[in-house]
């Protein structure tokens, strides 16, 4: 059993009841978070949720209105940015336009008054890590977006910061490059082991890059979980709908019978699911059911016993590996299904009436 003391010592960064207001606008409220040494922690939320403000407060660009920030166990709330030893990658990269690649990466080392030879060796090592060896003499303006991104990364990691801060670093890249950089970021983290705080509004990026995700909304933490846990067991309706696609069914009354849990969604429309221990708390209460598009399928002979509803097909959205099927479920509202392949476009044309199954055993149940 770990003590709280040990946990504190293991934290690379710690925010204690941190709040930040800009005039009357509360950007961050009573934020409590311990970032573990070596982990990739993502701050995920819609724009304006306060995630960038948190990052700026860790870097020292913003001063909390109240609360305390610690890096490596030492309070830094009043320490200016240049003495904090954090490495930040900005959304726009913010490379120095009057310096070449080498000078950009060497900047932090020169500020630390490293000897010339050591600077050259460290820069070479960092550029090799981001696969930019040979571009030392290039002007920043001559680099592609992806290369600028790598220079920004090299510049931040070369100083071996106590924490690496990434502010939506992939958002300026096109889609293919973004996927490539996601993989490289993962590899880079494996090589450096740097404690990393990653800010994004892209749930896909968050799920694929993080050890833990902090979902934020309106300056407050909604949930802190590992990606799989977050996707499977969102803590509330906001998290459920923000992380991944999900269908929110209308409020239902949950009644436990002998072997089933029955959700009455509308008069005459009830769905039953085999009883599970964790459903016991919902007996007799109004709940919201959330079903992911991949947890629904078109009913066929192989799916007896599953909850089944009649729907009308509204549109198909073909996406290569799968097809999104939007259907009108009557009292259930509009629902989205994710069906592998494209056969469904032929099988269930627009306007046709079909039966679909909902895998309620996987569904998320939350209080209404």
């Amino acid at each position: 059993m770990r003590t709280e003391q040990q946990d504190r010592a293991a934290s690379a960064v710690e925010l204690r009841r941190v709040s930040k207001s800009f005039g009357p606008v509360v950007a961050v409220q009573e934020f409590d978070l311990a970032i573990r040494r070596g982990e990739v922690l993502t701050l995920l939320g819609p724009s304006g949720c306060g995630k960038t403000t948190i990052l700026n407060m860790i870097a020292g660009f913003e001063v909390p209105s109240s609360g305390e920030i610690r890096i490596d166990g030492k309070p830094v709330t009043a320490v200016p940015p240049y003495l904090r030893d954090t490495g930040m990658v900005f959304q726009s990269y913010a490379l120095f336009p009057h310096m070449d690649v080498f000078e950009n990466v060497a900047f932090g080392l020169k500020m630390r008054r490293l000897a010339k030879g050591a600077v050259a060796a460290e820069v070479a090592r960092a550029l090799e890590m981001v696969k930019l060896t040979g571009l030392e003499g290039r002007r920043v303006r001559q680099l592609s977006g992806g290369q600028q991104q790598r220079v920004a990364l090299a510049r931040a990691i070369v100083i071996r910061p106590k924490v690496l801060l990434l502010d939506e670093p992939l958002s300026a890249l096109d889609k293919n490059l973004r996927a490539e950089m996601q993989i490289e970021l993962k590899e880079l983290h494996a090589k450096t082991g740097l404690t990393t705080v990653f800010v994004t509004h892209d749930q896909g990026e968050a799920l694929s890059l993080s050890d833990r995700i902090v979902v934020m909304n309106r300056g407050e933490i909604q949930q802190v979980s590992a990606p799989i846990e977050l996707y499977r067991h969102p803590a509330n309706g906001f998290v459920a709908s923000f992380v991944g696609e999900i269908n929110r069914l209308p409020p239902a009354r949950c009644t436990l019978t002998g072997g089933d849990a029955v959700f009455e969604l509308a008069p005459g429309l009830s769905l039953a699911v085999p009883r599970r221990p964790e459903l016991a708390v919902w007996d007799g209460r109004r709940v919201n059911l959330f079903v992911r598009p991949e947890q629904m399928a078109i009913a066929d002979a192989s799916s007896p016993g599953q909850a089944c509803v009649k729907v009308r097909v509204v549109t198909h959205v073909y996406q290569g590996t799968h097809t999104l099927l939007r259907v009108d479920g009557g009292a259930l509202g509009l629902l989205q299904l994710r069906i592998p392949g494209s056969e469904v476009i032929e099988r269930a044309p627009v306007g046709s009436e079909i039966e679909v199954t909902l895998d309620l055993a996987q569904a998320v149940v939350l209080a209404d």
Partner: protein, 271 residues
């Protein structure tokens, strides 16, 4: 109406007015330059022939030579002093909010409102009071004041064009505020400062109204010497020296544009 005719009509409707505006803007300079090549003793337009004799006279005329040398002295000191003061002001106004900031901005642009002869007259009276009458110091002081708004504007625009995230990035990498200024802000500001200096130099070199009050025979600048000349003589020498001044200024502007990018200095970019 055929499409070709329509296109020609559109071109004519565009180039006609544009050509007229260009002509209007350049015609005084054209008349002066053409007159400068006149072989005749008289200021006449159009000239009857082609001669360089007035250029030879302009370049050898002692008052013009002294005036130009004086102008260089005044310009060098005035533009440099204006650059130092103006940059500091621009930095202050851009980076800090303080009581009286709006008032400071207004005062800094006041030379655009106060007529040059008022400024010149004021410095003449002030110089007399301080015992500096018609010294270089008083000429330079007047010129600093006159060119200051242009320097401030140029540096201010350059400051606005610096991405504040660059300074944050430098601080994040361990640069103290002083080193951020020395390693990032100032180097990025340099083109704007050089451009501001050059504009100040051109304005100072060609300034006449205020200079007329604060200079005397020993310290007079080229425009004042030119005014003195035209009061005594009426030959094309004055046209020749004017043409030389136009050419020199044009060259300076072209150089500035080539190496500093005046577009960047005179307008705020979108990031």
């Amino acid at each position: 109406m055929s499409p070709i005719f329509a296109a020609r009509l559109r071109a004519a409707l565009f180039w006609g007015p544009v050509g007229l505006i260009l002509l209007y803007m350049t015609i005084p300079a054209l008349v002066v330059v053409m007159t400068s090549f006149s072989p005749s003793e008289l200021l006449e337009f159009p000239p009857a022939g082609l001669s360089l004799r007035w250029y030879a006279r302009a370049l050898s005329y002692p008052d013009f030579r002294n005036g130009f040398a004086n102008g260089l002295i005044v310009t060098t000191f005035a533009s440099t002093a204006a650059l130092a003061v103006g940059s500091a002001f621009a930095y202050l106004v851009d980076r800090y909010s303080f009581r009286g900031r709006a008032a400071l901005e207004a005062v800094l642009s006041s030379p655009l409102i106060v007529p040059h002869f008022t400024t010149g007259f004021g410095f003449l009276l002030l110089g007399a009071e301080l015992g500096l009458t018609r010294s270089y110091a008083i000429v330079i002081a007047a010129h600093v004041l006159l060119v200051l708004p242009f320097v401030v504007r140029s540096v201010y625009v350059s400051l606005k064009n610096i991405d504040p995230r660059l300074e944050r990035a430098a601080a994040n990498l361990g640069a103290s505020p002083g080193r951020v200024l020395a390693r990032v802000t100032l180097p990025l500001l340099l083109p704007g400062m050089a451009g501001g200096w050059l504009i100040a130099a051109i304005l100072s070199l060609t300034e006449f109204t205020a200079s007329l009050y604060v200079t005397e025979a020993r310290t007079q600048t080229l425009p004042v010497a030119m005014y003195g000349y035209i009061r005594e003589y009426s030959d094309p020498t004055i046209a020749a020296i004017s043409a030389l001044l136009i050419i020199a200024t044009t060259l300076l502007m072209l150089l500035a544009n080539r190496y500093l990018g005046l577009r960047r200095i005179l307008a705020i970019d979108a990031h």
